[in-house]
């Protein structure tokens, strides 16, 4: 070791750590426990927040609607002018007008061998196709009837169109691209939780969902406009029923939670055809993605000031609950770490008492007070870093164990995640920084005492 001495204070720190390893391990134990709890709870909070506020109730997504009740009975329209105003707001990242299918319709299709029949009137929404920008499914989620690629030649004599993405329409005997449909995960959970058990159908589990994702476009169904299971319709439709073929292109959080979502052009044309021109002047709502969740309050204030409302969302309530629980966990972790810092302080006071003579020697050969402080604080920082790293490893290991046990033994439940935890680099670095800072704080007074030792007295001890 002495063959090539590279003198630095850190070499002394290293040597001191080595010879006091056992003591430092014991005194760092509290930091290990505190940091592992800190990482575990914050990781859990991040994971739960991601699922609840990312998948179930996206917190930075707000839906602007016309007021449900007004004094005059008249309400401000949700129209293109409002869409333009919303898009001009500084808080807004994107805004998508939403138009609901407002007349009776029904869907028929096949899912894993089961024939499904479901009402669509009021449960099918049109959204701007730019909604899926950046998503692989964006290639398919288009208003094909408005695109050249969506129009093909006449059907062949057998009534086929060559590609399974196209179907032969009985309306004009031309090949049309299937209507692209996206659904939210809520629909899978709704199907699994209510529909499938009530009808004795197989649940869509992880395997089925994976298969569904792989063969998404094989999920095809028919949309019958102007038809309904309701025998006595209150609406009087002048237009005769017609059928369109559709295919599933994505399961995504961007779809409206309940029902099917299709490009808005289809809904606009269908509403116009069955309900007239008035029906397409207004949207049912505007779905707004904000630039950050911190902008929610400002934007909602503006919405209310403009005379509109925010569609009821549980996101804020859940966010509040998660924040409170997270804060509680953080406080518990910090109390543990704080107590450990006191323990670190005791350890260093003891060490300094043991090392008085040594400190005197260092001062005699030229160590300044600042050098002595640096040595003590350097040791504390190293203990913090080591204990923090160990705490992070333990916290992550505990999380992985829980994920493993959950995936292995806990039955599926709505929105069951593959992991309950989210460990970001910021969390890991923050935890390490906490450990170092608390240890250094713990050693601060001992370091000051060591630095202020009178060298002559220290040598005489």
């Amino acid at each position: 070791m002495s063959d090539s001495i590279r003198p630095s204070i850190w070499r002394i720190v290293r040597q001191n750590l080595r010879r006091n390893l056992k003591l430092f391990l014991l005194s760092g134990l509290g930091i290990v426990i505190g940091i592992s709890a800190f990482v575990f709870f914050l990781g859990l909070s991040g994971g739960v927040r991601k699922v609840v506020l990312g998948d179930i109730f996206p917190i930075n997504r707000i839906e602007v609607i016309a007021p449900k009740t007004t004094l005059t009975g008249l309400s401000a329209p949700v129209d293109d002018a409002l869409v333009a105003k919303v898009r001009a707001r500084p808080e807004v990242a994107a805004a998508y007008p939403r138009m609901r299918l407002s007349f009776p319709a029904e869907g028929r299709g096949d899912l894993f061998g089961a024939q499904l029949y479901f009402p669509l009137g009021g449960f099918c929404d049109g959204m701007d196709p730019t909604l899926l920008v950046g998503d692989p499914a964006a290639e398919k989620f288009k208003d094909w009837d408005e695109l050249e690629a969506g129009k093909m030649a006449a059907c062949d004599p057998a009534g086929k169109c060559g590609s399974s993405d196209y179907y032969c329409s009985a309306l004009d005997n031309l090949c049309h691209h299937r209507v692209p449909v996206i659904v939210s995960r809520h629909m899978i959970e709704l199907y699994n939780g209510s529909f499938a058990p009530a009808h004795g159908l197989k649940r869509v589990g992880a395997a089925e969902e994976a298969m569904l994702a792989k063969f998404m476009r094989s999920v095809k169904f028919r949309i019958d406009l102007g038809r309904s299971a309701v025998k006595t319709l209150a609406v009087n439709l002048a237009t005769p029923p017609e059928s369109h073929e559709a295919q599933l292109v994505a399961i995504t959080t961007k779809a409206v939670p309940i029902g099917l979502t299709v490009p808005i052009g289809y809904i606009r044309r269908w509403n116009q055809k069955y309900l007239g021109d008035e029906s397409i002047k207004h949207y049912s709502s505007i779905v707004v993605d904000l630039k950050s969740k911190g902008m929610v309050a400002d934007f909602v204030s503006w919405v209310k000031a403009t005379g509109y409302e925010q569609e009821e969302s549980y996101a804020e309530n859940f966010a509040l609950v998660i924040t409170i629980v997270t804060l509680l966990f953080i406080v518990i972790s910090l109390v543990i770490i704080g107590m450990s810092a006191v323990n670190i302080a005791h350890t260093f006071f003891m060490l300094i008492s043991d090392r008085r003579k040594e400190i005197g020697i260092l001062r005699a050969v030229g160590a300044s007070k600042a050098d002595v402080r640096r040595i003590i604080l350097g040791e504390a920082a190293a203990v913090g870093l080591g204990a923090g790293a160990l705490g992070v490893v333990l916290g992550v290991a505990a999380a992985k164990t829980i994920d493993f046990l959950s995936n292995r033994f806990v039955p599926n439940f709505p929105f069951k995640p593959t992991t309950y935890f989210l460990f970001t680099p910021a969390l890991i670095l923050g935890a390490l920084a906490f450990a170092v800072v608390f240890c250094v704080l713990g050693a601060f007074l001992p370091a000051r005492r060591a630095a202020n030792l009178q060298p002559a007295q220290a040598l005489a001890s």
Binding site: I5, S8, A364, S368
Partner: protein, 243 residues
């Protein structure tokens, strides 16, 4: 006072320990000059204040009042950083109890001042050269615990010489050594002094004071006597008793 500025200049140094009934006036106004290249033995009974005086000269202790100037540096004007640098670069210490760090090798102990120097080059070579100077080149990798008392003291001397100081402050350097080993250390001191190093040695051993160029005696916190063998002085009192 000689035309050359003294390497150590103390003016009216006072030092008290404790308060009230436990108050002890260790130094009661000591003034002295030590010329460059001198070898001075500071003698006196236990508790006379000689070690305290040495520590004050070395900056290991502070005087309650008075002026300490070492190598032209007035301690009142030096902050801790500058005083530490002065100790590191210009002053070497040798103690009765050796004060080596047991967890470091002999070579690392010798090179210890380099850990706090602003710039350190050839640390290894310089540490080995210092060890060679005290005849312990072969002991570089050993731990202090494996050495005899005499060898430990020579390691401490090597450490003190590592940065080529101009002043060596020694506190009972032969106090823990047998006569044979002690004689070797004294001879080494004389050799270093001949090379120009200034030595201030606190001792109660006659053989050490006899080896010094002159002797100062301290009693009850005052300098009371000086040896007639002292070098020629330019001032009436090279050593002045306190006022």
């Amino acid at each position: 006072m000689s035309a050359v500025e003294p390497i150590i200049k103390l003016v009216d140094i006072k030092k008290t320990y404790g308060q009230g009934k436990g108050r002890q006036d260790v130094l009661r106004g000591v003034s002295l000059d030590v010329a460059r290249g001198d070898m001075v033995a500071l003698v006196g009974q236990s508790g006379s204040g000689k070690s305290t005086l040495l520590n004050i000269v070395g900056g290991l202790d502070t005087a309650d009042s008075g002026t300490v100037v070492v190598d032209g540096n007035d301690y009142r004007k030096l902050d801790d950083q500058k005083q530490s640098r002065l100790r590191n670069e210009r002053i070497g210490f040798i103690f009765q109890a050796f004060h080596l760090l047991e967890h470091l090798s002999v070579l690392e102990n010798v090179a210890l001042p380099a850990f706090f120097a602003d710039r350190s080059s050839n640390v290894n070579d310089r540490a080995r050269a210092a060890l060679d100077r005290v005849g312990l080149a072969d002991y570089a990798e050993r731990r202090p615990g494996m050495l005899s008392g005499g060898q430990k003291q020579r390691v401490a001397i090597a450490r003190a010489l590592f940065n080529h100081p101009i002043l060596l402050l020694c506190d009972e350097p032969t106090g823990n050594l047998d006569s044979e080993t002690g004689r070797g250390v004294i001879e080494l001191f004389q050799e270093l002094n001949r090379e120009g190093l200034t030595l201030l040695i606190v001792t109660h051993e006659e053989r050490v004071s006899q080896a010094a160029k002159h002797v100062m005696r301290i009693a009850d916190g005052l300098l009371v006597d000086q040896d007639s063998r002292s070098v020629e002085l330019s001032t009436p009192a090279h050593v002045r008793t306190g006022t």
